[in-house]
């Protein structure tokens, strides 16, 4: 497929065609496309448009205007591109670009956005949600108060509660009107209807859930007596609230202690002496997360050695897998070896097994007291493969070598076979020894093709979450570190621990780390790619 695209580009672009030539080419294009092609195109675009129209209608129905506009615009653009007689490059590129935006750009931009917020435990939603949640939690049922059977009643659109007290007397009241005694009709012990009010059936109650959730009937003229609320429409309880929200001042007041919590721009109501009322809400915090990522003393100390180990892990993994793969490729490239095919298949096997599965199996085999390696291979030795800091590092590297060398083996084998034999012959005739042939001729030629893959492999291993998470989960734990990191944690597993383990999540900080990791990997890759270019020029 790629060759056809190349052909296309080369035949279409270089000699700038005149306007007439272009028109002729377009007519020829359309003519040779044929009626079937046109129909096919129409059907596909028709389906696409139908889906787009449906999506826009649904989205508009739910007030998602921005997304609706984006969907409509994209659909219009796609139609324009494919109905146009020109726009040949766009016809090739559009689908890819749409996927790129959807699955890469959006994710990156969103991660970037999260990195500048305080999104995490306690800062999860909007301010209104935080306020309503705080108010709901601050309701305290008045001690030893009874359960009141209630009927929800309606008078000209105003909801009220018809309350039966334990003595069997009926009261009615609304949000503004405290409870007052009335003569009511009783069904058993419960007042069910009163003159001037319509009693709501359960279905009506459900239909007006929002109003009923807000309904708090003052128990008496004294607000300190609390208010009667019904959570389920059939029983009510007497509550007092411990918090008072002043919307104008933006403060929460704890009425039992008198403490005033105000919104000081940190995403939570905070008292004068620094106590926060949680839940708070999500705000943007600028570069705070990035500053914290490198300066927080609790994080800084582990960050240094985790970063060092991440570089060591990625570099050693690339080097070890490359040299083992290269060595095996050279060995199996030798015509004198018999049964090379079978050996090669065996070599590929570790690559064919999903890496997370192999990592789990290795973790089992490396168990100190029960693992296959210690028990069977070493006859009952107790080598702390995964529990000693240095041994664990070695084990991780070994397992990653096992997982990674088949790839390098494949790549090197292909590259070696593309080096002409004549070069080796010429060198041998000139009297070069095998090592010199390898070092001075084969390796440089090999690196031209393989170096970009080595860079890619470095980037992959820098973020090799699977192997670390499945094999050691970063362990053994560093009991001196203030956060739960271990001696084999790499940056990405540390970020995972910050964001997703324990009871406090910090998505903002984790996103900031992700961006830092992205920058590190990108910078190293760019520098390395520059250097490979010079390698190419040498040859």
């Amino acid at each position: 497929m790629s060759t056809t695209i190349d052909d296309d580009v080369t035949t279409e672009t270089p000699p700038k065609p005149t306007k007439r030539q272009r028109q002729a080419a377009n007519i020829a294009d359309a003519a040779s496309g044929g009626i079937k092609m046109l129909l096919f195109k129409l059907v596909l675009l028709g389906i696409l448009d139908a889906v787009a129209v449906y999506a826009v209608l649904v989205l508009a129905g739910f007030g998602q205007w921005l997304i609706a506009i984006v969907v409509a615009a994209v659909a219009a653009l796609v139609n324009w591109i494919y109905f146009s007689r020109r726009k040949l490059p766009a016809k090739y590129l559009t689908p890819g670009i749409i996927f790129l935006v959807l699955f890469q750009v959006f994710v990156l931009v969103y991660t970037g956005y999260i990195a500048f917020t305080n999104y995490g435990t306690g800062h999860n939603g909007s301010k209104e949600q935080a306020v309503s949640s705080l108010m709901a939690s601050s309701l305290q049922r008045v001690e030893d108060s009874p359960t009141y059977p209630v009927t929800v009643v309606d008078q000209l659109g105003t909801l009220g509660l018809l309350v039966t007290d334990p003595d069997g007397d009926a009261y009615v009241g609304t949000n503004d009107q405290p409870l007052e005694p009335v003569d009511a009709e009783f069904d058993g012990d419960k007042a069910v209807a009163v003159d001037g009010w319509t009693s709501l059936q359960f279905a009506d109650v459900l239909a007006r859930t929002d109003e009923i959730t807000e309904l708090a009937v003052p128990f008496s003229d004294d607000p300190n007596d609390g208010a009667v609320r019904t959570p389920d429409g059939s029983s009510a309880y007497l509550y007092t609230s411990t918090l008072e929200y002043d919307e104008a001042a933006g403060t929460m007041t704890d009425v039992t202690t008198g403490t005033v919590y105000s919104d000081i721009g940190t995403g939570a109501f905070t008292s004068a002496d620094g106590d926060e009322l949680l839940p708070g809400w999500q705000i943007t915090v600028g570069f705070d997360n990035f500053v914290r990522a490198v300066t927080d003393p609790r994080l800084a100390q582990p960050l240094v050695y985790v970063t060092l180990w991440t570089f060591a892990f990625a570099l050693i993994s690339v080097a070890s897998t490359f040299f083992l793969g290269l060595f095996l490729a050279i060995v199996f490239n030798d015509m004198r070896m018999r049964g090379r095919k079978y050996y090669r298949v065996l070599m590929i096997l570790p690559y064919a097994i999903p890496s997370f599965l192999s990592a789990l199996i290795w973790a089992g085999m490396m168990n100190e007291s029960f693992g296959f390696i210690n028990q069977v291979l070493l006859g009952g030795a107790s080598v702390p493969w995964l529990t000693d800091p240095w041994m664990a590092k070695l084990s991780v590297l070994l397992v990653n070598l096992w997982l990674g060398f088949p790839y390098m083996f494949l790549v090197c084998m292909g590259a070696l076979q593309s080096i002409p034999d004549e070069l080796q012959e010429a060198a041998t005739v000139d009297g070069a020894r095998p090592w010199a042939v390898f070092r001075l001729i084969k390796l440089p030629l090999l690196l031209v093709t393989v170096a970009p893959l080595l860079i890619a492999s470095f980037a992959f291993n820098f973020n090799n979450f699977n192997t670390i998470y499945m094999l050691t989960d970063g362990g053994p734990r560093d009991s001196n570190a203030p956060i739960p990191v271990g001696f084999t944690d790499i940056l990405i597993t540390m970020v995972y621990k910050v964001a997703f383990t324990g009871q406090s999540r910090d998505y903002g900080l984790a996103s900031a780390y992700s961006i830092i990791i992205f920058i590190i990997v990108a910078v190293i890759s760019i520098i390395a790619f520059r250097r490979t270019k010079s390698l190419e020029e040498l040859n």
Partner: protein, 411 residues
């Protein structure tokens, strides 16, 4: 070349359609959720394994009240995070199934609404009500109580042990080198060691009238250090009864193979033991001291979303319907763990296995749900693992206490 271009074009068109299809799917999803909220449908997230158990109850409730109950089976491991993330967007469920130790996190994130159990609160096991309450407010309708106990291979050791040492002695008399297994791991497993710790009188937190008090860390009291010394004596350099190389699978295998006669684990492993042909008896946790060894109780229940548009129906469904004995027994049949409603618990206890766990559960204390507990978990297991592996018990325990205190203060 023509053909290639056409197929490319076709592929491109298909891709675009698929993309928009995806977009419209997600739009469709949010649409149905929105509808659900406005037309009196309750969306309930349920542990995928318990969907069938709730199905009957949901249908019966629909018949009784006309409210549709839509059960969504979810992987238990994802429910908490998905709930916390989706409730603020307005697209979460009305009700979710969960465990009481999520409570601190859910409440700190403001995603749960309080539940008023009213007079029915007295009908539940006290430990279930304690566990459902956070800072004095009830947030969860409890349906099951779960705790660990000792599974005994009654063919190897016919009599229950009276103390920890008695258990080891009885097992060794039956010819077993390490008769007792408990799940640990490189980072320890404090949940499974907690009964022994409480036997030394060292709970994690003290309590006040609001429940656990995060300012009163009891972990490091004198009992804690005695426990550490005992743990060290039972570890690598002592009797070897505790071993951090034994994980859940190895412990299970040892019990199924008959190389261990006692296994400290939860009801979730009883099925495997019975299927393995073991004559299982359930015992209380043998205490290393004279005091009772109280495990943590985990209470399962249902939470109402703070952003639910159907709070009235949700409250009615939970309190007045799922809180009834029939429904609790139905759920019990699916999960085989003790119902939280006292009457249902009594009925369920006719099964000797359940009765055994219930007897241990009578001594159990709810696992603290306060956020400070997160700081404890972080250091607790690793310190215990270090002690088992021969670290100085007193120094390690003191460091554990100061690390936890520092982490709590930093919050």
């Amino acid at each position: 070349m023509r053909v290639n271009k056409k197929s490319l074009l076709a592929a491109g068109a298909v891709a675009v359609i698929a993309t928009l299809g995806l977009a419209s799917c997600s739009a469709g999803d949010s649409g149905s959720d929105g509808e659900a909220s406005s037309s009196g449908t309750l969306t309930v997230w349920v542990d995928a394994e318990r969907v069938d158990a709730l199905k009957g109850a949901a249908e019966a409730y629909t018949e009784k009240t006309g409210v549709e109950v839509e059960l969504v089976g979810k992987d238990n491991a994802d429910i908490k995070d998905d709930f916390i993330q989706q409730v603020p967007t307005g697209k979460g469920p009305d009700i979710t199934m969960g465990a009481h130790d999520w409570l601190g996190e859910l409440s700190t994130n403001g995603v749960v609404a309080p539940i008023e159990l009213g007079d029915s609160a007295g009908d539940y096991l006290p430990v279930a009500i304690d566990a459902s309450t956070y800072e004095g407010t009830t947030y969860m309708l409890p349906y099951a109580v779960e705790n660990i106990a000792v599974l005994r291979n009654a063919d190897l050791v016919p009599e229950a042990a009276t103390s920890f040492d008695d258990m080891i002695a009885k097992g060794q008399a039956a010819g077993l080198a390490h008769p007792f297994v408990v799940e640990q791991g490189a980072e320890g497993n404090p949940y499974h060691l907690y009964p022994f710790q409480t036997a030394f009188g060292a709970p994690v937190f003290g309590t006040n009238d609001q429940g656990y008090d995060s300012t009163d860390l009891q972990l490091g009291n004198a009992g804690g250090e005695q426990f550490a010394a005992w743990l060290s004596a039972q570890g690598k350099n002592g009797t070897g009864n505790f071993n951090t190389d034994i994980d859940g699978d190895i412990a299970k295998q040892a019990f199924l193979d008959g190389t261990a006669a006692f296994w400290l684990t939860g009801p979730w492993n009883v099925g495997a033991a019975i299927d393995g042909g073991i004559n299982v008896a359930i015992d209380t946790v043998p205490s290393p001291t004279g005091e009772a060894a109280a495990p943590f109780a985990g209470v399962k229940g249902f939470f109402i979303s703070s952003e639910s548009k159907n709070k009235v129906a949700a409250n009615d469904f939970l309190v007045n319907y799922l809180g009834t004995e029939d429904v609790q027994l139905e759920l019990f049949k699916a999960g085989n763990i003790l119902p939280a409603l006292s009457a249902a618990a009594e009925t369920a206890s006719s099964d000797p296995i359940i009765e055994g766990f219930a007897a241990v559960g009578a001594e159990a204390v709810p696992m603290p749900a306060i956020p400070a507990m997160g700081s404890v978990w972080q250091y607790w297991g690793i310190a215990e693992a270090d002690i088992i592996n021969g670290a100085d018990p007193t120094a390690t325990w003191q460091k554990l206490t100061s690390d936890v205190q520092a982490a709590i203060d930093a919050k």
